[in-house]
Subunit: 85 residues, 4 copies
DNA sequence: ACACAAAGTTCGCGTC
DNA sequence: GACGCGAACTTTGTGT
């Protein structure tokens, strides 16, 4: 088998990989677009998107970690006399 | 209608929005995961992921590449155009 | 007066502006580097940089806006039955 | 030594760190403001700020540009090298 | 209000 | 295997 033949295998493999990635990236792009649309819709209904984003992030976050991070923040805030609420 | 009733409308709307976002985020996450898997598979086949990423980026750019090149020319035309006009 | 002479004024002006910007960008870069060093030092002393960043951000934020944003978040969280604390 | 005393050490350390960061952030803010002023001045003199921004970016890149170009060549050498080796 | 640009955050990589 | 470095993505702010 020639080098060309041998290499064409890798080249084909590479091409396949790249194309599969590109398709998935297209999918991702579509989903991101849908999400954007949803936020626009929410805004149209008078919601505060920034708050919604935070809510989504908080719900996604592991509860344990969230409370731990909050505790650390509270600790530091207290040490500096910063009134968080 | 009570305030509770009144609020529950917005609350339901909010909940619906948040849940729809979360579903889309799940979709997105799944796609991102698939992409990651692909890269891992590529790596397992001896490919250089960094190079693949650049290839993908370049191909994605190539659609807008002419526009970019054109913009670059315009840029210089403008920037140096100050000397010319 | 030739075009060249006339244009050289604008060109010189442009050059001056660009160079002044570049100097300021260098300054900025240096400051950013210093900040990074500070965070590294803090980490070396056992502090949680993420929490410190939040503290700095909170202190920088206008108190009114901060509480307003927090109130909105609380409102939404409550509507969804999300326990923040 | 009381806990309060013990903690006050860390609290003081934390306060010092935060305040040093805040000072540096102020410096940064001032520099950013100066840059903004410069752009406004440039605009007042009839220059195209968008073009200037690109010029500055390009000049900043130009130091690393050869490296980037080299990286691009290496990239293709690698990616296509699969066909060659 | 939209798009562009800047900042911060996170993730993968190379290094030690 | 942990740490710092650099790139990619997300989010925030600003100028039009």
């Amino acid at each position: 088998m020639t080098d060309a033949g041998h290499n064409s295998v890798a080249a084909d493999q590479l091409r396949t990989i790249v194309e599969r990635i590109e398709r998935l990236e297209d999918d991702k792009k579509a989903v991101v677009e849908d999400i954007k649309q949803l936020y626009m819709e929410a805004k149209g209904n008078g919601f505060d998107n920034k708050a919604i984003r935070k809510i989504v992030a908080l719900r996604a976050m592991d509860e344990g970690k969230r409370k731990e991070a909050q505790a650390m923040l509270d600790l530091y805030a207290h040490a500096l006399g910063l009134d968080l609420l």
